[in-house]
Amino acid sequence: MRISGREGGWAGGRWEDFLCAFKRVCGMPDYAGYLRHMAERHPGTPVLNERDFFEAHVTARYANGASRCC
C-alpha cells in the first residue's frame, strides 16, 4: 500500500490546506485532518465531535506540561 499523504501539506495551494498547515505549525488541533485520518484508517468507527476533539487534543498535547524552550 502506498499512501500519498497530504498530511498538513500545502502543495495544492488551497485555502483549507493552508489553514490546516498553519494550525499544525502553531500546534492547534486539526479537526479536518482528524476526520480524514479516521476515514482512511478506521472507516466506520464513530468520531469525536469538534468540541470533544479540541479537548482531547489539548489534553494530549499539554499532558506533560508541553516542553517549551527557554
Binding site: 505549525v25 492547534m28 489534553t59 506540561g65 524552550c69 527557554c70
Partner: protein, 676 residues
C-alpha cells in the same frame, strides 16, 4: 548545475567572513554578518547535516512512530515544512534573544563566531541526534533514553538535573520580565491585558465556537494590539498610571501568583490559548525582524571586541572564556531542545529522512534568530547599550552619573541622549534595566522605526517588550506544569496518592512547591544589589549547557551502540568543548577570588563588611546565605554531569571492548507506506 550553485554559496559565505575579518576596527554593516551566517548554515546543512543523516544515523525508509502509531492527535504524520515550523516554534523562545544581547559586552565578534560555528558543529547535532534517537524509539523522552541506554542511576540523575534546571530557567526568565516591567505602567498594563484576552479565547474555543482556534487567535491578536495602544494612554493618564506602576518586588510576587494559578487551571482555559497567541506572535515578529534588518541594514556601532573581554564588564562578571560560551546558550547549543526533540516532534515526523530538515535545520534557524538579536543589539550605540544593561548600582541613579560612568568605560553618551531615548519609548527611565529584554526592545524598535518612521518608536518598543513577556509568561505556566508532573512522579514513590495527577490536593501541593522554588530565586534576584542577572544568568547558562552535555552523552551512546564508533566524534567533539566550558565556568563561579565573580568570595566580602559595620547584618546574612546556595547549586550541577559522563564512558568502553553487546533498543524495522 547544483554543484555550481553550492560552490557559489560557499564562496559568498567565505567572502562575507573575509570582509568581517578585514574590517577590524571600522564600523561594519549587519548585512555581512547575516550573509556569513546564512552561507555557513547552508553549507553546514548540505554537507555536514547530510553526512550525519546518511552515514552516522543511517536514516532510511522505515515507518516512523507517527505512521505506525497514528491516532490523529499527538501521533500524526505531518509534512516536513509544516513540522519544521512547528518544531522551530517550540524551540525558539527568549533564550536566543536575550543571551546574545548580554554577551554583547564583549563586542559582537565572539558571539557571532560562537553562534554560527557552535550551532553547525554542536547545537544542531545535539537536536538532530536526540530527535533521531527518540524517533527510533516511539518518541521516548530524553530521561527514558538515558535510563534505557546508559543505566537506571543515570536516568535518575538526568531527571534530577532536568528538574533543577527548570527551576533556574523559570526564575531567570521571570527576572527578565520583572526588570522589563518595573515602574512601566505601559508595559504592565499591556501584559496584564494578555491574561483576560487568553481566558476569553479559551472560553471561545471551548464553549462559544468549539474548536475554532484560528478565529479565536486572530481576535486575540487584534485585542493585544488594542491593549498595546491602550497602554500608552494609561501611561499618560495621571489617574490610571499609578495603578499600573509597580516596583520589582510586587511584580515578582504577581508573577508567582500567576504561575501558580495558571499551572493548576485546565489547559484549554489559559495555557492553550496563550500558547497559540505566543506562537503566532513569535513567528510573525521574527519574520518582521528579519525583513526589517534586511531593509535597514544597520551598521554595527558596537566594536568587534570591547575592553571587557578581561572580565571587568558591568553586565556580568567573568572573562571572554568561558563566559561568552555560557551566556549564549540557546542559539549556539541548548540542552533544553533535547526535551522538545524527544517530546512532541518525533511523534509527528512523516518520513525518517525529514528529520534532517526538522532537527538540524530547525536549530540552524534558531541560531539565525540569535544572529538577528545580536545585530539589533550591536546596532545600538555602545553608550546606550551599557546605560540599559549595567546595574543601577554601577551607573548611579541619574542620567548625569550614568553618562559620567559610561565615559569612564570608554564610550560616549550625553545625559540628553539618555533622557531623549527614554522619552521616545514612553518610559520614565531605561537606566539599569538589566536582563537583555529592554535593550533588545530598543534595538528592535530602532530597526522597525527605520522601516516605518520614527514617530512610532514607543509603540514598537512596547510591542517588543510584550512579545517577549508573552512567551516568557507562557513558559512560566508550561514550565511550572512540567516541574509539577516531575515532582509528582518523585512524590508518588514516597506516598502513592501524591503521584496522582488527577488528585487536586496533590496538584496544588506540587505546583506550590515548584512555584516557591523558582519564586525564591526570583525574589533574591530582584533584591540583589547587582541586579540578579549577574548571578542567575550564568547559573542558567551552566545548567542549560550541562543538560546539553547529558543529551550528547546519550547521543554518543546511541551512536556507539549502533556499531558506528568511528563516527562517535560528531557528538564527542561538542561534548568535550561543553565540559571544558561549563566545568571551568562552574569552578570560577564557586571559587574565584574576585567577589563579583565567585559566590564564596562574595560571601566573604559581605562578611567582612558586616564585621566592619558598613553592611546591615540582617541583609548581609541573607546575601551570604544566597551566595552559598548558588555555590552549592553550581556544585550540584557539576557533580551530576561528572557522574553522568563517568557512567557513560564506562558504558562506551564496555561496548567497545566487547564486554557488552552493541545493541540498541530501537523499535523493529517496518517499511514505510509513504513514497520515499
Amino acid at each position: 548545475m547544483t554543484r555550481i550553485l553550492w560552490i557559489l554559496v560557499s564562496l559568498v559565505g567565505a567572502a562575507a567572513w573575509g570582509v568581517i575579518a578585514l574590517h577590524r576596527g571600522e564600523t561594519i554593516n549587519a548585512a555581512w554578518l547575516v550573509l556569513a551566517a546564512v552561507g555557513t548554515y547552508l553549507v553546514g546543512y548540505r554537507f555536514y547535516g547530510r553526512f550525519l543523516a546518511n552515514r552516522v544515523f543511517g536514516l532510511d525508509a522505515r515507518a516512523t512512530p507517527a505512521e505506525r502509531l497514528s491516532n490523529g492527535r499527538d501521533y500524526c504524520p505531518t509534512t516536513k515544512w509544516v513540522l519544521f515550523g512547528h518544531h522551530f516554534a517550540a524551540i525558539a523562545g527568549a533564550g536566543p534573544l536575550v543571551g546574545p544581547v548580554l554577551a554583547m559586552q564583549f563586542g559582537w565578534l565572539p558571539g557571532t563566531l560562537w553562534i554560527v560555528f557552535g550551532v553547525v558543529l554542536g547545537g544542531a547535532v545535539q537536536d538532530f541526534v536526540i530527535l533521531f534517537g527518540s524517533m527510533r524509539r516511539d518518541g521516548k523522552s530524553l530521561g527514558k533514553m538515558a535510563r534505557d541506554e546508559i543505566g537506571p542511576v543515570t536516568g535518575l540523575f538526568a531527571m534530577v538535573a532536568i528538574l533543577a534546571i527548570m527551576v533556574i530557567l523559570l526564575a531567570v526568565l521571570a527576572l527578565v520580565v520583572t526588570n522589563a516591567l518595573k515602574d512601566s505602567p505601559w508595559g504592565i498594563f499591556s501584559i496584564l491585558c494578555t491574561i483576560p484576552i487568553a481566558l476569553l479565547m479559551g472560553v471561545w474555543m471551548r464553549f462559544l465556537r468549539p474548536g475554532k482556534t484560528i478565529e479565536a487567535t486572530v481576535a486575540g491578536i487584534v485585542l493585544l494590539c488594542l491593549a498595546l495602544v491602550g497602554g500608552r494612554y494609561v501611561a499618560l493618564s495621571p489617574s490610571l498610571a499609578p495603578l499600573f506602576t509597580h516596583g520589582g518586588l510586587t511584580i515578582a510576587w504577581g508573577l508567582m501568583v500567576y504561575g501558580f494559578i495558571a499551572s493548576v487551571l485546565p489547559v484549554w482555559l489559559l495555557l492553550a490559548p496563550r500558547d497559540y497567541l505566543s506562537t503566532f506572535m513569535k513567528i510573525g515578529t521574527i519574520v518582521l525582524l528579519a525583513i526589517g534588518i534586511l531593509i535597514v541594514m544597520p551598521p554595527l556601532r558596537m566594536p568587534a571586541l570591547t575592553r571587557f573581554i578581561d572580565g571587568t564588564g558591568p553586565v556580568f562578571a567573568g572573562k571572554l572564556f568561558p563566559f561568552a560560551f555560557i551566556t549564549i546558550a540557546c542559539g549556539a547549543i541548548s540542552g533544553f531542545h533535547a526535551l522538545v526533540s524527544s517530546g512532541t516532534t518525533p511523534k509527528m515526523i512523516r518520513r525518517e529522512r525529514d528529520a534532517r530538515l526538522i532537527g538540524y535545520g530547525g536549530m540552524l534557524t534558531e541560531s539565525f534568530v540569535a544572529i538577528m538579536a545580536l545585530c539589533a543589539a550591536a546596532a545600538l550605540d555602545p553608550g546606550i547599550y551599557f546605560s540599559i544593561n549595567a546595574p543601577l548600582a554601577a551607573l548611579g541613579g541619574t542620567v548625569e552619573s550614568a553618562a559620567a560612568q559610561i565615559r569612564q568605560w570608554g564610550f560616549t553618551v550625553t545625559p540628553e541622549q539618555l533622557t531623549a531615548l527614554s522619552a521616545s519609548v514612553g518610559e520614565a527611565s531605561l537606566l539599569g534595566r538589566v536582563g537583555g529584554a529592554p535593550s533588545l526592545a530598543v534595538g528592535m524598535a530602532a530597526i522597525f522605526s527605520g522601516v516605518f518612521g520614527s514617530h512610532l518608536m514607543g509603540l514598537w518598543y512596547h510591542f517588543a517588550i510584550m512579545f517577549e513577556a508573552l512567551f516568557i509568561l507562557t513558559t512560566l505556566d508550561a514550565g511550572t506544569r512540567v516541574g509539577r508532573f516531575m515532582l509528582q512522579d518523585f512524590l508518588g514513590h514516597i506516598w502513592e496518592p501524591l503521584g496522582r495527577t488527577s488528585w487536586y490536593p496533590s496538584n496544588l501541593l506540587a505546583s506550590g512547591l515548584i512555584t516557591a522554588a523558582w519564586g525564591y530565586f526570583l525574589v533574591q534576584g530582584v533584591l540583589d544589589p547587582l541586579g540578579g542577572i549577574n548571578s542567575l544568568w550564568p547559573l542558567f547558562g551552566i545548567s542549560n549547557q550541562l543538560l546539553a552535555a547529558v543529551a550528547l552523552c546519550v547521543g554518543t551512546t546511541l551512536i556507539i551502540k549502533a556499531g558506528k564508533k568511528r563516527y562517535a566524534w560528531v557528538t564527542l567533539l561538542p561534548l568535550a568543548w561543553l565540559l571544558i566550558v561549563t566545568l571551568t565556568a562552574g569552578w570560577q563561579k564557586i571559587f574565584a577570588a574576585d567577589p563579583r565573580l565567585g559566590f564564596l568570595a562574595h560571601a566573604r566580602s559581605i562578611a567582612e563588611k558586616i564585621a566592619a559595620g558598613t553592611q546591615d547584618p540582617a541583609i548581609g546574612a541573607r546575601l551570604i546565605w544566597n551566595d552559598r546556595l548558588d555555590a552549592a547549586l553550581a556544585g550540584v550541577f557539576m557533580t551530576i554531569v561528572v557522574a553522568l559522563v563517568v557512567a557513560s564512558v564506562r558504558e562506551w568502553t564496555a561496548v567497545i571492548r566487547g564486554r557488552k553487546p552493541a545493541l540498541v533498543k530501537e523499535t523493529p524495522f517496518v517499511e514505510s507506506a509513504y513514497a520515499n
